[in-house]
Amino acid sequence: MARFVLHRLVLTIPALFGLLVLTFIMLRVVPNDPSAALAGENATPEQIAEVRRAYGFDQPLWKQFVIYVGQVGTGNLGNSIISNRPVLRDIADRLPATMELTFVSLLFATVVGIPIGAIAAVWYQSLFDHAVRVLTVAGLAIASFWFAIILQMIFAMELDWLPLRGRFPEGLAPPYHLTGLYFVDSLLTLRFDLFGRAAEYILMPAFTLSLAGLASIARFTRAGVLETLQKEFVHYAEAAGYRRLRIIWVYVLRNSVVGATTQIGLLFGGLISSAVAVEAIFDWPGVGSYAVNAILSSDYKAVLAITLVVGLIYALVNIMVDVVHAWLDPRVAEKL
């Protein structure tokens, strides 16, 4: 297993390099020169050209890329051309918020999606099954920004049960910074009151973000359980007199969620990209809003850094999923 993980980690390096090349080309091949914006409102072409020289935008593209890769190799992702701050610092400030939102959404999608899918399969063609099928299609089809606004209007504006926006109450100090993940930090510092406050703020954005994933996991689980229920070992277990509940939750489910687990890994990337819209609507201080600002202002170093960091996290999550996959299915583990 350790060898497998190491192998996958090594393979991540060329994958990230490919991602870097692709993103760099996409960003710089299109006419995308921030010099004019940097030079100011009334800058003459000569002043703009001087800014271009100063930032090295006049260098051939390959040379700019070589310089950039050299920087990245030393762990320096450069400074934002707008804020002049190290982009890594900007991302580090915001990444925990996005990670927390994404993981809570993923957790929610998994914890709710798998049982729903399993029950729907067990009660095949029942009213519950029909309802799950309709709702999961709706969950995949509903636009997250629309759903977010509806939730805000009901739970924040009308009922006043949940906060409208943000990650933590204004004027209240967040948990002591250990990981930047408020749930984890509040538990580690035994501040359960802050845990509760953080939970109030994350409920709506996490539910919104999880909706599509939840629907997808439920459908995969349902299909997996339906297939497994036809297997001979299930009939054998029934004939042997095992309780139905035990057969389903212990034997059938474990054999059915392999597909759903793979789906969870893939979903992670989708959740991070969907987080851009959800973060904007709930004013969640994550990487998504930073990425949008960077794109709108042609801050290409910030865009490259975000792509690289998110790519790395995505790769790591998928390695973790492979490990879980092996844990669930010993046949996979033997091949590793």
Binding site: A36, I82, M157, R165, E170, D283, I295
Partner: protein, 529 residues
């Protein structure tokens, strides 16, 4: 611990935490203002010169002169006044006594001269307005309260442009210079000002969060405001719907100043907020590349000018929250002729002009393109209205989504400048030079403001002369004359001068709108109980 025990225990902790005493959700305190407008991308006031920076700068920094009221009046601020000598080439400012930086050091003329030198040396943001007329060593400080500027040529808008330049604490910035960077790395996330509010740098998160504390020692004093706001929390909210909801709910005290017209009634109907409607100096223009066929043909440009539904756009899309602006200077600024005939939607005229253009050999049948700013819905709506009008006269207009940095890069050459594109010209400094001067004098070709690539020697001469005159009435006559020529040449489509719509909470008092900074001067504000 068994898995089941762990899960049950965890659930109990979450439930207990959620059931605990619930405090109010993020409601602002009675003495703190939550300002939900955009923050600048950097805190260095010499690095950027845009609308968010203006809102930051007028509170954290001081300038020689400032703009107050609406229509804006230029009033002495750090300076007590100025004198002009050598036929306009020497401008001398006398400074007030008692101005201090936030660290307690006195603000002297040396700081002023050095601030201008730094701004010109780093050549960003506001520098472009001064580089043609002022060398980095052109500002000197002969004594602690006198600053002398030696201009390279007479430049009447110089005084109006001085509010662009924040005066920095030289001692503090120089102590943080690295690799001859003029302190740019440090000042991007720090402050070195003397303004009426002091930023809390410890809690600063770029474009996301900044708290300001009142500067009790500000040189202007606080006698004009008996209950000044102690803490201002700047909390930009990106999404319009959330911003408006937050205002109505009482989470924040304002929106940005571009409230969508369809949200105005909703805010006005709420018990917690209202809308401040202030005519600004923000001119919406659809540019035409006068160097590209068929836009190099006057009759074609006239046809396009008559194919836009100005009234429909202002009354329909903007719900009347805009003022028709017939020419290239905002109607509420001197220099704009008050009797300037405005183009109106007239498809018959458009067809006639189109026929004339065709007869003159203009390629009127080719598909033309208009580039819009993708994230600004109004540019799309304006383009669609023009598309509709042009389709009726047989011209095919294609709408291309684009972004600001790419658009202004493309305007460096006539061949890369789009056929048409949509933008606003905001009030960076209050002088006709900011609009007509920089948009239609051919010496500015290659900049986004002059992206019509219009060249008319008579207009060039009028604008050049206006820059060299001190007397406002003489300059006004020249700008009016130039405006008439430019409008007759149908160089661009000038649509409206904006009315800024800012949702504000009903507890906020003392909000005084000025186009520079869009009314974000916290010095005059207080909160009703």
């Amino acid at each position: 611990m068994k898995r089941r025990t762990f899960l049950m225990g965890g659930s109990a902790v979450v439930t207990a935490a959620m059931m605990g005493e619930r405090a109010a959700f993020a409601l602002p305190g009675p003495d703190e203002l939550i300002w939900a407008d955009d923050l600048p991308g950097t805190l260095d006031p010499h690095a950027v010169s845009d609308v968010p920076m203006q809102g930051y700068m007028i509170n954290v920094y001081d300038t020689l002169y400032v703009n107050k009221q609406n229509p804006p009046k230029l009033v002495p601020w750090l300076a007590t006044g100025h004198t002009v000598a050598d036929g306009g080439l020497t401008v001398t400012f006398k400074l007030r006594d008692g101005a201090k930086f936030h660290d307690g050091h006195p603000l002297t003329s040396d700081d002023v001269a050095w601030s201008f030198k730094r701004m010109l040396a780093i050549k960003k943001g506001p520098a472009a307005a001064f580089l043609p007329v002022l060398d980095p060593d052109g500002a000197t400080a002969p004594d602690p309260t006198t600053v002398v500027f030696k201009l390279k040529r007479v430049y009447a808008p110089f005084l109006a442009a001085t509010p662009l330049v924040a005066i920095l604490n030289r001692r503090l910035v120089e102590a943080n210079v690295k690799d001859n960077d003029w302190g740019q790395g440090w000042l991007a996330t720090n402050a070195a000002g003397s303004g009426s509010y002091i930023p809390d740098i410890e809690g600063y998160q770029p474009v996301q969060k900044l708290d300001l504390k009142r500067n009790r020692d500000h040189f202007m004093g606080w006698s004009d405001n008996t209950a000044p706001i102690e803490t201002v929390r700047r909390r930009p909210i990106r999404e319009t719907t959330t911003r408006v909801n937050a205002l109505i709910k009482g989470d924040v005290d304002c929106t940005d100043s571009y409230l969508p017209p369809d949200q105005v009634e909703r805010v006005m109907a709420s018990k917690t907020a209202t809308v401040s409607k202030d005519q600004s100096m923000r001119l919406m223009t659809l540019r035409m590349n006068n160097k590209k066929a068929p836009f190099d043909n006057l009759n074609f440009r006239l046809a396009v000018s008559h194919a836009f539904n100005y009234k429909g756009f202002i009354d329909g899309v903007l719900k009347g929250y805009a003022v028709r602006n017939a020419g290239p200077i905002p109607v509420n600024l001197w220099g704009a002729p008050q009797d300037l005939p405005a183009y109106e939607l007239d498809l018959d005229k458009a067809k006639d002009y189109l026929a004339k253009a065709k007869a003159e050999g203009a390629p009127v049948d080719r598909e033309i393109e208009i580039h819009i700013q993708e994230h600004l819905a109004q540019t799309t709506q304006a383009a669609q209205i023009l598309q509709q009008g042009l389709r009726k006269v047989g011209v095919n207009l294609k709408i291309i989504p684009n972004l600001w940095p790419q658009l202004i890069s493309s305007t460096a050459k006539p061949e890369t400048t789009p056929d048409m594109w949509a933008h606003w010209v905001s009030s960076y400094f209050i002088d006709p030079e900011n609009w007509i001067g920089q948009m239609y004098d051919s010496q500015f070709h290659g900049t986004w403001k002059a992206s019509s690539w219009y060249k008319n020697e008579k207009v060039d001469s009028l604008l050049h002369e206006a820059r060299g005159l001190e007397a406002k009435d003489q300059r006004q006559a020249l700008y009016e004359q130039a405006s008439r020529i430019i409008v007759a040449d149908a160089v661009d489509i000038w649509i409206y001068n904006g009315v800024e719509l800012r949702g504000i909470s009903r507890r906020l008092r003392g909000f005084n709108f000025t186009p520079i900074g869009s009314g974000a001067d916290f010095h005059t504000m207080w909160l009703a109980s």
